[in-house]
Amino acid sequence: MSFRIHALAVALVLTAGSAVAQQRIPLNDTALAAQGCNVCHGSQSYLSPTMPAIRGVDAATLYTALIELKTDKRPSTIMGRISRGYSDEQLKALADYLSKN
C-alpha cells in the first residue's frame, strides 16, 4: 500500500518536472549499483508500468523491504534472488540513495 502511494507521489513530481532537466549521476559505488534497478523499475525520468516505483520511497521503508525480500520474509518473484547479491550494508546504502534520487 505504501509503495502505491509513493508511486503516485513520484509520478506527480515527474510529470511536473521537465524531461530535459536530468540530474547528474555522481561517480561512486552506490550510485553506479543503483542504476542497475532502472532496467525493471524505471528511473527518475521513467516509471515502469508493472514494477513498483522505488525512487523517492522513504529510505527506512525501502531498506526494511529489501531485507525482508533477502530473507524471504516477504514473498517475491525475483527480488529475493537479486537482494541476496548484496550485503546488508550495501542494501542500506542503495535504499538511502534511491530515497533521495
Binding site: R24, L32, V39, T77
Partner: protein
C-alpha cells in the same frame, strides 16, 4: 534526405577539430572534457552513450550506427507468436540527441586505428576519439551450417536472430504453413546471443500453433546437451503444449550436420527430417568491426578486463555486450545495458583522472512460455579472475513449483522490464 544533411553537418563539425587529435601525445582536445566515440546503437552502445552523458554532460559523445532504427531481439519471439507487432519493438534514437546531447552519426565503422585513436567510416570520414566503445553485437556465421547460406536465410530458412525483416519473414512462413506441418528449430552450440532465446521461441511458436494450427509439431534439433532454464521450459512445454514439442540433444543426434534449402530438409545425427518451416540459428562471433579492428581472440569473441570491460587488445578501447567475453554473464540485452553503465562510469573517471567506482553487474532475462506464463533468470556478478562472476548464494531461476498466479506475475513483469529497459537504453 534530412538525415543526410544533418550527418554532413555533424561530420563537418568533427572535421574542424580533427587536427587536434592528429598528435597522439595530446590526451584530449584543449578545454574539452574529452570525446567518446561509440560504435553500435543497440542495448550496449546506446546505454553507454546515454550514461556517459548522465554522469558527465560536458563529454562529447558520438554514436555511430548503421541503421536508422533498432528492432529489439527481445520480444521478437512475440512477433512470431502474433502477440506483438514489429513496429512495437522498433525504436528510434532521437531522444539520445534531443534529451542528452549525444551526437548521432548514421554510418558504418569499417576500421579502427587504435594508435592514432580514430574510427574510419565507410564513406571515408574519420572520427577521432579519446575513448572508444565497441558494441557491435554479433556476426552470423553463414558457413557454420553446411548447405545453408545468406541467400537461404533470406528466402526459405531464416535465422531471425537479428530482429527485423528476418523476424517478419519467419512470421510469414508460420502464417503460410498448413496445419499439421513440422516446424524445425536448430539452435547452435555455446556461446551465442540470448541463451534462453531459442527455447522461448519454441514456446511462442507453440503458442501460435496451439491456437491456430493445433495438429502441427515442433522439432528442436540442438547442438547442445543442455540449455538455459531447461527444467522450467520443459515443464512448461509438457503442461502447456503436451505432445507438440520434441527436443533432441546433441548427444542424441540433435546436432545439425547439413541443411538442404531446396528440399527443405535438415540432416542431423539421427536422420533426415523435412520441415514446413525451418529456422536455422547459426554459430556466431563478435560483430565484424570488432574482428576487423583486431579486438577479438582466435575464438571470435573479445577478451576484456572484468573490472571495466576495457579491451585486452587495445588501450582506450572498451568492448561490451554480445561481442565481449563476459565471464559468467550471458549475452543478453540486460547484460549489455549493465556492462555499459560500468563502462560509462569508468570512461568518465579516466577522463577526469579519478578512481572509478567498483563494478557490479546484473542480468535479468524473462521468457514467456505462454502470454500468461513467465519465467526468469536473474543474477548479480562482481569482477573475478575469470571475468564477471556470480555472487555466491544469490540469483538463479524461477522456482520449479509455482502457482499460476506467480507465473502470470512474471509474465506481467516481462512487459514492465521491456518498457523500462527501452527507456533506460534509448532515453
Amino acid at each position: 534526405m534530412t538525415s543526410n544533411i544533418s550527418r554532413r553537418k555533424i561530420l563537418a563539425g568533427l572535421g574542424a577539430t580533427a587536427g587536434l587529435f592528429a598528435a597522439p601525445h595530446i590526451a584530449r582536445a584543449q578545454g574539452s572534457a574529452g570525446r567518446v566515440v561509440v560504435i553500435g546503437g543497440g542495448f550496449g552502445g546506446a546505454t553507454a552513450a546515454r550514461y556517459i552523458k548522465l554522469f558527465s554532460p560536458d563529454i562529447d559523445v558520438v554514436l555511430v550506427e548503421r541503421d536508422a532504427t533498432y528492432v529489439t531481439c527481445p520480444f521478437s519471439n512475440y512477433v512470431l507468436a502474433g502477440i506483438r507487432d514489429i513496429n512495437s519493438i522498433t525504436h528510434g534514437r532521437d531522444p539520445l540527441r534531443q534529451r542528452y546531447g549525444v551526437r548521432l552519426v548514421r554510418g558504418e565503422a569499417t576500421a579502427v586505428d587504435t594508435s592514432a585513436r580514430s574510427v574510419k567510416l565507410k564513406d571515408g570520414a574519420n572520427l577521432p576519439y579519446d575513448r572508444l566503445v565497441v558494441a557491435p553485437g554479433i556476426e552470423l556465421n553463414y558457413a557454420g551450417v553446411p548447405g545453408w547460406s545468406e541467400r537461404a536465410a533470406n528466402t526459405v530458412m531464416p535465422h531471425a536472430w537479428k530482429a527485423g525483416p528476418q523476424t517478419v519473414l519467419l512470421r510469414r512462413q508460420l502464417e503460410a504453413m498448413a496445419d499439421g506441418g513440422t516446424v524445425i528449430i536448430a539452435p547452435p552450440a555455446n556461446p551465442f546471443r540470448c541463451p534462453p532465446g531459442p527455447y522461448e521461441r519454441v514456446s511462442m511458436i507453440a503458442w501460435y500453433l496451439k491456437t491456430r494450427k493445433p495438429k502441427s509439431k515442433i522439432l528442436v534439433l540442438d547442438a547442445k546437451d543442455a540449455f538455459s532454464k531447461q527444467g522450467l521450459f520443459m515443464a512448461g512445454w509438457e503442461s502447456q503444449y503436451p505432445g507438440m514439442i520434441t527436443w533432441i540433444a546433441g548427444k542424441d543426434g540433435g546436432k545439425v550436420e547439413s541443411v538442404d534449402p531446396k528440399g527443405m530438409t535438415v540432416t542431423a545425427g539421427f536422420g533426415k527430417e523435412k520441415g514446413a518451416v525451418i529456422n536455422v540459428i547459426p554459430p556466431q562471433t563478435a560483430g565484424k568491426i570488432a574482428l576487423d579492428a583486431g579486438l577479438a581472440e582466435s575464438n571470435g569473441w573479445c577478451a576484456v578486463d572484468p573490472n571495466n570491460f576495457a579491451s585486452r587488445k587495445a588501450q582506450n578501447v572498451y568492448v561490451l555486450g554480445d561481442a565481449s567475453i563476459a565471464g559468467q554473464m550471458p549475452k543478453s540485452g540486460t547484460s549489455a545495458n549493465s556492462q555499459a553503465k560500468v563502462v560509462a562510469a569508468n570512461i568518465v573517471a579516466s577522463l577526469r583522472g579519478v578512481q572509478p567506482p567498483a563494478a557490479v553487474y546484473h542480468n535479468t532475462c524473462y521468457s514467456l512460455v505462454t502470454p500468461d506464463y513467465g519465467i526468469s533468470v536473474s543474477d548479480t556478478y562482481r569482477p573475478g579472475p575469470q571475468g564477471p562472476t556470480l555472487v555466491p548464494n544469490s540469483g538463479g531461476v524461477s522456482p520449479a513449483r509455482a502457482t499460476a498466479a506467480q507465473r502470470k506475475a512474471e509474465a506481467e513483469y516481462t512487459m514492465g522490464w521491456y518498457a523500462s529497459i527501452i527507456a533506460d537504453t534509448f532515453g
